[in-house]
Amino acid sequence: MYACLHGPGNLDLLLECARKFSPHVEEHPPDTVIFDVRGLETLYGPPENLAREIDRAVGVPANLALAPNPDAAAHAARGFRGITIIAPRREAEALASLPLNLLGGSPATAELLHLWGIRTFGDFAKLPPLGVAARLGEEGIELQYLARGEGSRQLRPLEDPLEFEASLELDYPVDNLEPLAFVLGRLLGEVCDKLRFRTLATNEITLRLALEKAPEHVTNLKLPVPMLDQRAFLRMLQLDLNGRPPVAPILQVYLRAEPVKPRRTQQGLFVPSSPEPEKLELTVSRLRHLVGTDRVGSPELRNTHRPDSFVMRIFAPPQATSKLAVEDVPAIPRLCLRRYRPPRAVQVLLINQQPVRLISPAVNGRIVMAKGPWRTSGEWWKEDAWNHDEWDIALESGELYRMCRDVDSGRWFIEGNYD
């Protein structure tokens, strides 16, 4: 059975009422909703009882009809006042008295039927089908089926918007992160179930905490790969909240996940193993919590000649190729610089413009060899332009350093140690 509610100007209330009885609801703006009530007889008994329950739940003036198919229910609700129940195989009889303008169809067909003197569903239903087909074509056949209450179409239910979110208003303000873990676990469970139901994963989770007398606390977890691991998400959120706790007691928790297609990879037999993304992300979160957010990642060199210029990116290694495809290339070892960040200020003793001694608390000694200066400068149009004279020096102890003099200020620095 299908139920139809028709009440001008109350579509939202009608929808709300329909959703109480069925997840499959079809909307016909501005005033009609049709919903599937098959199977509800086990809960409410005969259709009369169900109709009474629906009528009680709707709360606003509306016509209600129950019929074996959606179209018959819709026509009955639009045409009859109050409650109408149409039994199976009695549709034509029940709808016969309805005026033809409720049937719909093109204006030309409606005008033609009017000229023929057809005024009701019953009149139209009595016409011979072959004659209707010959004169009105396919549309005429369809309309005659509807007039007889023999519609056979499926319901076109409203799709729920794809929002993967959950929220909870707390009974009392929570100022401790430990009990919050239970709330987060529950909300994450809800969101992950929704994603799993649709075979989706997420690469971004947003947590909003409404605080007592303080601005909202927002945490945004960005994941390098799509994941659907509730425990890992909970641990990551806990680590983030431990590192940056809310400033006031929490009143409400809202969680949202960005849906994306799940990751599907097939590893080759000869591909080197790499960290499991879920485990790696959790480990990286722990490391960020331990050493600081901007100190963990994969360095990416900037396209500039500025010394020590790089950005820290999220570590997301590309998929490895087969080991067989990689050739062992002999390496020529090159001197690597071990940088001091920031460069260490030093005093330098010069004789004939040549550095001969280095004086500083950290690095001290006689310079036995100094090669330079090599001028490096750039981005003069910016405030943080650089203009250095670089020297490679060897101390008496055998240590090799890169030393530079800032041309503008005349100050000396050690950039790093060659190793």
Binding site: S273, R295, G297, P299, L301, K323, L335, L337, R339
Partner: protein, 221 residues
């Protein structure tokens, strides 16, 4: 004498219900450095599933050797980690040595050796990394020696379990018997050419073989 040893052995076996014998060390797969002298000296590179210690004074080529290992490992598609105690890692130098920076996870511990130890522990336990470098090269000797032997054992066992090659770089040997391979580097002196620092000659000594062996190699600028 032999009879006494056999008797003692049978008593111990009966007491602890385990057969006594000498366990042969496993032949491990190795990660080559690509430096011929080092690969010959170490019979193929640093062992996977084991701890290697590279020690030496500043400017002895320790970093160049480890970066060469990283270059080989990342080129082979392995994910690697550099746990940098002092924050001295230079991505530019590594890139010039052929390190695929996309496959390198860099942890800058800002001078905190304890954080470095915890980071290595977390990373090596999580598994999936081919080479894990623990850089203690700029850590004061006194602080490096404070790392307890139990921690080194724990790291070695984790490396064995996950198959990662764990390489510790420091001024001196710290892990003692925990390390499977110890390489001590000694600078032989820089090479100057005209107005340029052209490179550095270095001697490497392998300390954990049956007999100590040495090899020389040059690090170029």
């Amino acid at each position: 004498m032999k009879a006494a040893v056999l008797q003692l052995r049978s008593i111990v076996e009966a007491r602890f219900e385990i057969p006594l014998g000498i366990r042969k060390s496993l032949e491990r797969e190795r990660i080559p450095s690509g430096i011929e002298a080092i690969d010959t000296l170490t019979a193929g590179g640093v062992p996977r599933g084991g701890l290697t210690e590279i020690s030496g004074a500043a400017s002895s080529g320790r970093t160049a050797l480890v970066v060469a290992l990283l270059g080989q490992a990342t080129r082979a598609g392995e994910c690697c980690v550099w746990v940098d105690t002092a924050g001295a890692f230079d991505p530019q130098s590594a890139s010039e040595m052929g390190v695929d920076l996309d496959r390198l996870l860099w942890i800058n511990c800002g001078g905190n050796a304890e954080h470095a130890l915890k980071s290595v522990d977390l990373l090596i336990q999580s598994g999936g990394f081919g080479l894990v470098v623990m850089d203690l090269a700029d850590t004061p000797e006194r602080e490096a020696r404070r790392i307890p032997l139990a921690s080194w054992f724990r790291l070695r066992h984790a490396a064995e379990r996950t198959g990662a090659a764990l390489v510790a770089v420091a001024r001196n040997i710290n892990a003692a018997s925990c390390s499977e391979l110890q390489l001590e580097l000694q600078p032989l002196g820089p090479v100057w050419r005209g107005k340029l620092l052209a490179g550095l000659n270095t001697e490497a000594e392998s300390r954990r073989q049956h007999r100590s062996r040495k090899a020389e190699f040059r690090v170029v600028r």
